[in-house]
């Protein structure tokens, strides 16, 4: 167990380092931050002074060396825009995204299991048809479109929900719903197909031959076996969310990491971009490890392998 974790963490660190190098150099291909920061009318001299002051005129590898040196002493640099430590900015943003993503993922997963299992129980039935089509629809709807439509309908016309912002539970309803709609659709599909396979497994027959109740067959015997592919997809979806529920954050004005990342990329605030990617990568790699551990918890056979 400890060895497995150690190896996974080691691999994750390698990935992090690779990511770091890639991000650093790719970011520097996108132009000089000074151009964007300085007023349009600044003179060439002002621009030069700014560039020199921030070291943007050094070759990229020297900048990288400087960055690595600072990083090793725990300094992720300072935001050019916000004039604060980049890490501090990122750490303020990430809890919002994590909570948003966690709520959406949790609800999507629970909903998908209930709907998907029910659909798989009678494949081809009315419930299955309706569930399949509507899950496909929800998996293929543009989310920003849904978000804005939802605001117009639920906030402006019906006045049931606040338009946006971070606050009490009712502020969570629309962002979470918009965010979960796609993973939900996808997960319903995965749960359904996984359950279809599992429900035709031999041990399900054994359970029926034992006289086990159908509810228990579906939710006790089959579900746990069917969860592995579901957890895989859910993990990927969660990772994608951690990487930025950009659209939801942008529209609903949630100060999350996705919004921060896109803003910093557009503004070429490199220190923030790097810190944000590093922190989200850390979250994503952790999710991967948690997913692996979940496999082992769900399936005793996996505990044997490594």
């Amino acid at each position: 167990m400890r060895q497995f974790l150690a190896r996974r963490i080691f691999h994750s660190l390698i990935s992090l380092v690779g990511l770091l190098v890639l991000v650093f150099f790719l970011a520097r291909l996108t132009g000089n931050p000074g151009d964007l920061y300085l007023p349009l009318d600044s003179s060439i001299e002002t621009r030069q002074a700014f560039t020199e002051k921030h070291g943007y005129d050094d070759p990229a590898y020297i900048q990288f060396g400087r960055y690595v040196r600072d990083l090793l002493s725990g300094d992720m640099g300072e935001s050019v825009r916000k004039k604060r430590p980049a890490l501090e900015i990122v750490l303020e943003a990430i809890p919002v995204t994590l909570m948003l993503a966690a709520s959406a993922m949790f609800l999507a997963l629970v909903g998908a299991v209930i709907v998907g299992a029910r659909a798989a129980y009678r494949p081809g039935g009315v419930f299955d048809r309706v569930a399949s089509i509507s899950s496909l629809v929800s998996a293929s709807a543009p989310d920003f479109w849904i978000a804005i439509t939802a605001i117009i309908v639920f906030s402006v016309h019906l006045q049931w929900l606040p338009t946006s912002g971070l606050g009490g539970p009712i502020y969570w309803i629309m962002p979470v719903c918009v965010l979960l709609i796609r993973p939900f659709g996808l997960l319903v599909q995965v749960v359904r197909s996984s359950m279809l396979t599992v429900l035709s497994a031999a041990y399900i027959k054994t359970a029926r031959a034992k006289g086990v109740k159908e509810k228990s067959i579906v939710f006790v015997h089959a579900l746990r076996n069917a969860m592995i592919p579901v957890i895989t997809v859910a993990g990927d979806q969660a990772a994608a969310m951690a990487n930025g529920a950009v659209i939801v954050e942008t529209i609903f004005g949630w100060p999350g990491i996705g919004k921060l990342m896109i803003d910093s990329i557009v503004q070429r605030d490199f220190a923030v971009v790097q810190a944000a990617i590093l922190v989200t990568a850390f979250v994503i790699l952790s999710i991967n490890i948690v997913v692996d551990l979940t496999y082992a918890v769900l399936d005793p056979r996996i505990r044997k392998r490594s």
Partner: protein, 501 residues
Amino acid sequence: MNKMKNIVGATLLALPLSLVFAEGKIVTVVLSEEPDVIDPCEASRSNIGRVVKQNIAETLIEIDPTDGSITPRLATEWEQVDELTWNFTLREGVMFHDGAEFNAETAVTAINRALNPTQDCEIRLKFFGNINVMPKAIDATTLEIKTDTPQPILPTLMGTMVIASPNTQAEKGTMNPVGTGPYQFVKWDAGQEIVLERFDGYWGDQPEAEGARFIWRTESAVRSAMVKTGEADIAPNIALQDATDENTDFSYFNSETSRLRIDMTQAPLDDLRIRKAMNYAIDRDALIGSLFSEDVVPMTQIVVPSINGHNTDLTPWPYDPAKAKELIAAAKADGVPVDNEIVVLGRIGMYPNATEVAEAMAAMLAEVGLNVKLSMIEVAEWIDIFTKPYAEDRGPVLQASQHDNNNGDAVFSVFFKYACEGPQSTMCDEEVDKGITAASAAVGDERREIWQQVFKRLHEEIVPDVQMFHMVGFSRVNPRINFTPSISTNSEVQIGQVTFK
């Protein structure tokens, strides 16, 4: 999964169970983006200015954006001592929020801080980049400012200078702005809101609003919806298509002027006939009320009428495609390579429907027979192309751009755009350069007249732009308050002016 449940549960419990509606005498302003910082020395950036300028920290002099005239604020009067020196008499009995007293000393400290080169304050970079300013306290209420070059409009320049408390750290940006304004800073929940409350020790009349909240949403549709639902009071900047309610939505000239900059060095754009033809090709009347608001005005020069130097005698280009085709034919006959591909370069997200506008412009230019290609680019690349040094092989480009001058004088525009040395200029005309030099040194009517001559020459004889419009902005205001957005709403939202119905 259990863990997740706990996190969600804990979060839901931790948050107050209420809808935050704009109520009481607190004014909620919804901005288009979160300010990066709220340092007074950055107050020239629009979203920072809306929070800080004249709310938290004030300027010595206030510029009236409607006509460019200047009025006293922290300075009561001012005079030019000699070519390089101005004296300002400061208001007495003014206190900073932290208890410090406002006087010539503290004004000097504030000016020095804003102009400190170790900081990249935008006020310095934007307005004082090439000027060496030496402030000095003569006595408690007299501030002397010397400059290394003659600055005939120094009081206007000082209208951009926001005075921060002397206790503000000098070398670094501050997260806790302290000034002399009617509101003092309470807190900034990063990502969520900035809260101000009324300052009891304010030198002027106590404003009606007890405090202010600034929040931000990226989507214009959301901002306007928030005012509609009562979640916000003022949305200073909404898109044309969201400004649909006459009762709440205000339109006003926002000092922006929209044009296509012609790269005059590249064939066929170096030919005057082609540049004129392009201006004849644009059906401005069709654009007004469709892609642009009904309130926009066709431009004749880069500055809006309220700016000192605007020439009202100039007439907009008419729509005359026949004439345009004629001019192109004539140029072609003279061997001008009119078939060269001309790129209309748009900037993604410059204003809400910038893309459609660029598409429309390109389509109209193509209509008169030019070989036009549209290309939409990202802001960083756009800036790179817009400013000197220019790439050698750039080819004929019409670059969509928008210029904003709300600082009262044409000097803030003309040099940059049209002088031989101007950092965004593609032209070099001796007469225009002479005019710029002369106007910069002049004051009063003389200054205005020289600018007007320059604009006339640019408009009629040089034609460096495909002229579009003086733009209007839209703000939505909650009917529960009285507040009239204006051109100044572009750079400040004076909460002190808000009254409640």
